[in-house]
């Protein structure tokens, strides 16, 4: 049958609700005949039906149910459903304080003022004309820990971390353009959301490696991620990476905004509260096996991600016997600075109940701590910001994988 005849035949069949009759096995073991629609035959044998023609925007397979997990204030990346280290932009975690603003890129302006020679206003197209840079890095909310029950997935435990390739202009390029006063030490970054969210940032981070990003994974930043422009501070807590940025004020002192006093500070024992804890310490999570997906006895490739706000991951260690011994996992290159790094470890599970866990080591020699180590160092606190404990998965004899809650609350 040539192509032409095939199409004619398809057209002729098109109107029929029932395209074929197939044999199916029922739950009672009986073989029955069932009529299937043309739609069903099409999916069961894709070689017998012409597929959709090329389109304008790609789609995710209808068989893949990738979803963020939203609460009132945040939405979490499904870490257990992802491969590699780049987070699809529509699955990047969200955390905002006054909803997602709608900003017209034609009307968008960024004001830089304060201790500068020339206070200036930049339109979006101005920002895009400056020398540009791209960089792959993770962004993580410093409030990224849940650990209160067994039925928790990686997404629920620490889904407030995501990775993208960000493109924009270095803040240092803009600092140079406005002529920052050498006596300045801090700057204020302000968003144009309903919370008009503000953070004070040491000027040095601005000169060093802060990016004013307008693109994420090859396209304009998504509204949830700060469209049309945001800050990205490599390795620093997500809250400092102010989205929908409208204003930068250069100063010689911090502004003590609500987000750096009432929030994003943590009690560390001895009656003290730690402030301006910017850097995200090293962390890792095994994303397979993980709740809610059960496993079978035999060979299992443990997989996960590790990252550090202080530099590169140099090692990830795995224990498959509840911490009694540790071995090095394989790192998936390229191992980038301040970026999610993939790891894997081949393991033969004999079917006995055990606990598996990973711990990350970064280039400063920092070893991801246990919950007890963290809690001991912080006056008994078992939560709060910058909480990055080793996470254990219990593998039950029946193959169920459960999170092991260690926090008291």
């Amino acid at each position: 049958m040539n192509q032409n005849q095939k199409i004619k035949r398809r057209t002729w069949l098109g109107g029929a609700a029932t395209a074929a009759v197939v044999l199916v096995q029922t739950s009672f073991g009986k073989v029955m005949q069932r009529a299937v629609t043309e739609k069903e035959t099409a999916t069961s044998d894709p070689t017998k039906k012409l597929g959709p023609l090329p389109g304008e925007v790609g789609t995710r397979s209808p068989f893949e149910k990738l979803q963020k997990k939203p609460s009132d204030t945040s939405s979490r990346t499904p870490l257990q459903d992802l491969y590699g280290t780049l987070t699809p932009s529509d699955l990047h975690y969200e955390r905002h304080h006054g909803g997602v603003p709608a900003i017209d890129p034609e009307k968008y302006e960024l004001l830089i003022h304060g201790m500068v020679k020339k206070p200036m206003v930049f339109k979006l197209r101005d920002l895009k004309q400056f020398p540009s840079v791209s960089r792959i890095m993770f962004l993580e909310c410093s409030g990224n820990y849940r650990g209160n029950k067994e039925e928790l997935s990686p997404q629920e435990i620490c889904g407030l971390t995501s990775q993208s390739e960000w493109t924009g202009v270095m803040l240092s390029t803009l600092f140079r353009e406005v002529g920052v006063d050498p006596r300045a030490t801090w700057f204020l970054a302000e968003g144009s959301d309903a919370a008009v969210m503000t953070r004070s940032i040491p000027l040095q981070k601005g000169w060093e490696d802060t990016m004013l990003a307008y693109a994420q994974n090859g396209e304009a930043i998504r509204p949830e991620q700060g469209y049309p422009a945001r800050l990205v501070l490599p390795g620093w807590e997500g809250n400092t990476c102010v989205k929908w940025i409208r204003r930068i004020e250069i100063s010689d002192q911090p502004f003590m905004t609500r987000e750096e006093t009432s929030k994003y500070t943590e009690a560390i024992g001895g009656g003290k509260i730690r402030q301006f804890s910017f850097v995200m310490d090293a962390r890792s999570i095994i994303t397979y096996p993980a709740y809610p997906n059960p496993v079978e006895k035999g060979w299992i490739e443990l997989r996960g991600i590790a990252w550090s706000g202080r530099g590169r991951i140099v090692r990830v260690e795995i224990s498959t016997n509840d911490g009694r011994s540790w071995s090095a996992a394989e790192l998936q290159g390229p191992v980038l600075d301040k970026a999610h790094t993939g790891f894997r470890y081949l393991w033969h599970w004999n079917g006995d109940e055990t606990a598996i866990m990973s711990r990350a080591v970064d280039e400063t020699g920092y070893v991801q701590p246990t919950l007890k180590q963290l809690s001991d160092a912080r006056g008994g606190n078992t939560g709060g910001y910058h909480f990055n404990p080793v996470t254990a998965w219990i593998i039950k004899r029946d193959g169920r994988v459960l999170f092991r809650p260690e926090a008291k609350k």
Binding site: G98, P119, E177, F276
Partner: protein, 205 residues
Amino acid sequence: MRNRYTDQPDKTPLYIILLVVLCACKGQPDFNNENISLKDTASWPQSFGFGRLASSHDIDTLDIDIRPDGKGLPYGSGTVSQGKAIYAAKCALCHGKTGTEGPFNPLVTKTDTASSSKEPGKEKTIGNYWPYATTLYDYINRAMPFNTPGSLTPDEVYSLTAFLLHANNIVDSSAVMNAQTLPQVNMPARALFVPDDRSGGTEIK
């Protein structure tokens, strides 16, 4: 640069910072996820000329922040009793009749301030956790009421600030808040705050 994250001005001159950045980037291979560094800017023009000079109108319409030293506080004033009435009308719905009931963030401490400060983190209210009174003006003015942000006048914000400080046992019932008095208010939690001293390496903090 020991003081880079405290409120002490960092005295390191800019050229030293530039030098350090420059040296640190020398000889690095390209494939390591680094950004363009300042060394690349040697061939750049002094100014690219993109963007325009900001007018004082541009700045004044956006520059709403309030610093701990009071810089930015507008003209106006408010009392505890005025604040109490505004609170009942515009805030109580979400923060509770007396500021303790919710449903959203409790704004008023339930314990006497001095003793609860010893256990920070237990209750995070203005009375025992907020280190600066100016933050209250800044935040209420920019973000509250949650459903109609930016709708309050300076007098209303001063009044609400006076009311909430009084409800947290920080100022007395006759207090008047304005650009002069607000930065003078001493917050009990101020002494509890210490700058981050984590720096990687083997120590867990």
